[in-house]
Amino acid sequence: MREFARLYADLDETTSTTRKLDALKAYFASAAPENAAWAVYFLAGGKPRQAVPTKLLRQFAIDYAALDEWLFDESYAAVGDFAETIAHILPPPTQRSDIGLAEWMEERIGPLRGADPGRIREALFGYWNELDWRERFLLVKLIGGGFRVGVSRLLVTRALAAIAAVDSKLIAQRLMGWTDGRVKPTAAGFLQLIAEQSDEEHKLRGGQPYPFFLSHQLAAEPATLGEPADWIVEWKYDGIRAQLVRRDGQSFLWSRGEDLITERFPELAAARLPDGMVLDGEVLIWQPDSPMPSAFADLQKRIGRKTISSKLLAELPAVLCCYDLLELDGVDLRALPQHERRALLEVEVAKLDQRQLRLSPVVEADSWEALAVLRAGSRARSVEGMMLKARTAQYGVGRTKDVGTWWKWKIDPYAIDAVLLYAQPGSGRRASLYTDYTFAVWDGAGDERKLVPFAKAYSGLTDAEIAQVDNVIRRTTIEKFGPVRSVKPTMVFEIGFEGIALSPRHKAGIAVRFPRILRRRSDKPVDEADTLDMLKGLLEAATA
């Protein structure tokens, strides 16, 4: 734990990528494989289930520190992070231990899950008394299931590649599925992760997907990409990016976040695929008689459910809209050019001939201008714009351009000018600064006119802008409800969003997708902010 706490501190304390990489390499070079295996799990984004409910953790920390609840709450408000609060309010330890991360996870933290509160209390008191604050902080994070570290998966991959002296793409491949939580990180697993390249690489893959090839936002004019003939153009769907893997007589559906979502989409798991096939595509809800997919809101209804009733399956049928073929007959096709993979994909999807496997159609036009005209009609097709894939592109690893590029040529987001109405502090780096805002638009006319909240958003401002807004929020606070402040409506922001749908759950009766702050409209008085009628107009246009 001490070793891992040191690594965490090193990663947390520096903003330099080089120093982070050095810290990772130093750790992996010296850590015992069973501990390194767990470290990889956490660093790559693994999120174990919470071992002890937050309520109990809080209560036992208050007991241990002999404080009152209100004093804990005030401390928490100042710190902005639960684990960090606990780490600091506990009196210093009277003894020290240095037990490896693996033993912590398997022998000490694991057994707390579902244990009776008395047993948990006794265990925690013992653990806390042998750790310094950094280690206590990590312990609470590991127990609470909220562990996050400021390091990209790519950096972890690079560090492992350097230690193993193999290509980082191979490490990325082997890392697929590590964070899924179904497979326990083990010493053997770690040694395999950093082993030399073997001829058995493919067999070792099991049901793992390939690292997803990610696209780049097209900011320039498409004409800068050369001739349209050099590009394969498809619609950009708004669903869940996924790979459907068929190996050893079993199907696996993986989301881009590397979650295994097979059970959420039984109709896709049931698709009859030949062994040794991997399809890349978009999971969408698509009604059998509809020319276009349903809105994302419908897909959300499916994602949220653990058990899928046959009624829901019938009402909201899922399809995989296939746009790439990564493996056929157990052969990795990723090095083939895009157009060859595409040709094979068309043949295979046609051969499979199944309702739940649709082919993502190619958009045909002979000029960028013609494509731009088609793209303008994206919303009516329930898509987000177009994908432009270089005909010669291989299927790369992650967000790379080194073997050809995929561009997303999205339509401009919806934008609306809204008024800041509520604010609450962020967490982590933004703890104690007001960074999370609720925005409202005008509803009604004359004296009856009032502001109706319609979206929450937090990103999109620079630190300097956040400081200014934070200052105004503090000066114009009307009321405080716990961490939330209501403020006098004085600030207008341009809010961008991707989609809009009816929603009885929201006060405004509509819900927007991916809302974010585009800019502050200091030039615009509050009275001139946009109205709910305008939002409804956008909704009507979208559903017309």
Partner: protein
């Protein structure tokens, strides 16, 4: 008899003695607990302060009429017996003991309980009423022993030096800078001080404090910078003055660095948790040691500390003061450095905005 000390618009006022303690507006007679800008201001008619701090006080306030008192020495003024006792905060910092009609009040100014090499250690003074600061008045604030922290700073410096990288520690010029200097292992490399730190080093040395040799950046051979330790005020961060140090590693030394959020906002490589104020256990032990039954809480976490002390059987209340909003007062991590007098023109543009954000928070709850 009414309260011996009350708050007036000019500052804390000793009623029978007819004098002020660390007043924030000009008054005829002022007792100054220490020379930080929020406690020692210009414009008073007559000053009284502890002898070791006179040099710094004069260097900051210019030509003032000031009486020096040794720690423990007693004078009687309008029937109030006044004495000054070490507060352990910075060179010359004092608690003010006032005795009148058999009753004893002590105003602490700013204080730190753990002793260090740069000033006389905090001395608990028995009293009936204790006026305490509360800068770090939350139980999350617990300092590690200074020796451990200095070992960390030296280890960081050594590592940087071995990698050929200059080390820069941002610390307030008066007090914090000298504490770090006194703990540095000068065998690692040359120690460079910013122009605003050097005059205070001289004042400390003049009082016999052991500060290792330091140079100005204009006096050092460039080649030595790669192994050097630079002590600079926080306002130097991001200024053109920093450019000469090339690929340096930087750190910020402050009690606020305890929290990850504050550290990351500061954007430095390392945050060293070093404060000249008492931590939560320090506040508790200091209050207990006075044996006071009544405690009046000033600048910092007033409501929190008042509530906690009342709950623990003391008669506690708060004083609204104007301390803690300047320089070393460390009122909040975002504000303090930019408000420093040596603030460089390059100081972050958002500083002013944050400044008023905190000033707005007059209830005294810490904003960090």
């Amino acid at each position: 008899m009414g309260d011996m000390v009350v708050v007036r618009k000019e500052g804390l006022y000793c009623v029978p003695g007819d004098f002020y303690i660390d007043p924030w507006r000009p008054v005829p007679r002022a007792v100054i607990t220490h020379a930080h800008g929020d406690h020692a201001r210009v414009g008073h008619g007559h000053y009284l302060a502890a002898a070791p701090g006179i040099g710094v006080l004069k260097s900051r306030l210019g030509d003032i009429t000031v009486d020096a008192m040794d720690y423990g020495q007693t004078v009687t003024h309008n029937g109030v017996k006044i004495s000054l006792h070490p507060a352990g905060h910075v060179l010359g910092s004092a608690q003010v003991r006032m005795e009148c009609g058999g009753e004893v009040w002590v105003a602490s100014g700013d204080y730190k309980v753990e002793p260090d090499k740069t000033c006389a250690p905090f001395e608990p003074v028995r009293c009936d009423t204790f006026i305490t600061e509360s800068t770090f008045g939350l139980p999350i604030y617990r300092w590690q022993p200074e020796a451990e922290l200095m070992a960390e700073i030296n280890a960081w410096w050594r590592k940087n030096a071995d990698e050929g990288r200059c080390s820069v520690v941002f610390a307030y010029s008066f007090g914090k800078a000298q504490r770090i200097l006194a703990g540095l292992d000068a065998s690692i490399g040359t120690i460079v001080c910013h122009g605003s730190v050097e005059p205070l080093n001289r004042a400390y040395r003049a009082e016999g404090v052991d500060i290792p040799p330091t140079v100005l950046v204009s006096e050092i051979d460039k080649a030595l910078l790669r192994r050097a330790m630079v002590i600079a005020p926080p306002s130097a961060s991001g200024s053109t003055w920093m450019k000469r140090f090339g690929d340096y590693s930087d750190a910020f030394a402050s009690g606020w660095m305890l929290l990850r959020g504050a550290r990351r906002r500061r954007g430095v490589d390392r945050g060293f948790v070093l404060s000249d104020h008492a931590d939560w256990p320090g506040l508790m032990s200091a209050i207990k040691a006075t044996e006071a039954e009544r405690v009046i809480v000033t600048h910092g976490s007033i409501p929190t500390l008042v509530r906690w002390l009342n709950q623990n059987g003391l008669d506690a209340s708060g004083f609204e003061t104007e301390y803690g909003d300047e320089e070393e007062g460390e009122v909040a991590p975002e504000t303090a450095p930019e408000a420093a007098p040596e603030a460089a023109p390059e100081a972050a543009p958002d500083a002013a905005a944050r400044d008023s954000a905190v000033a707005d928070n007059t209830a005294g709850a810490p904003d960090a």
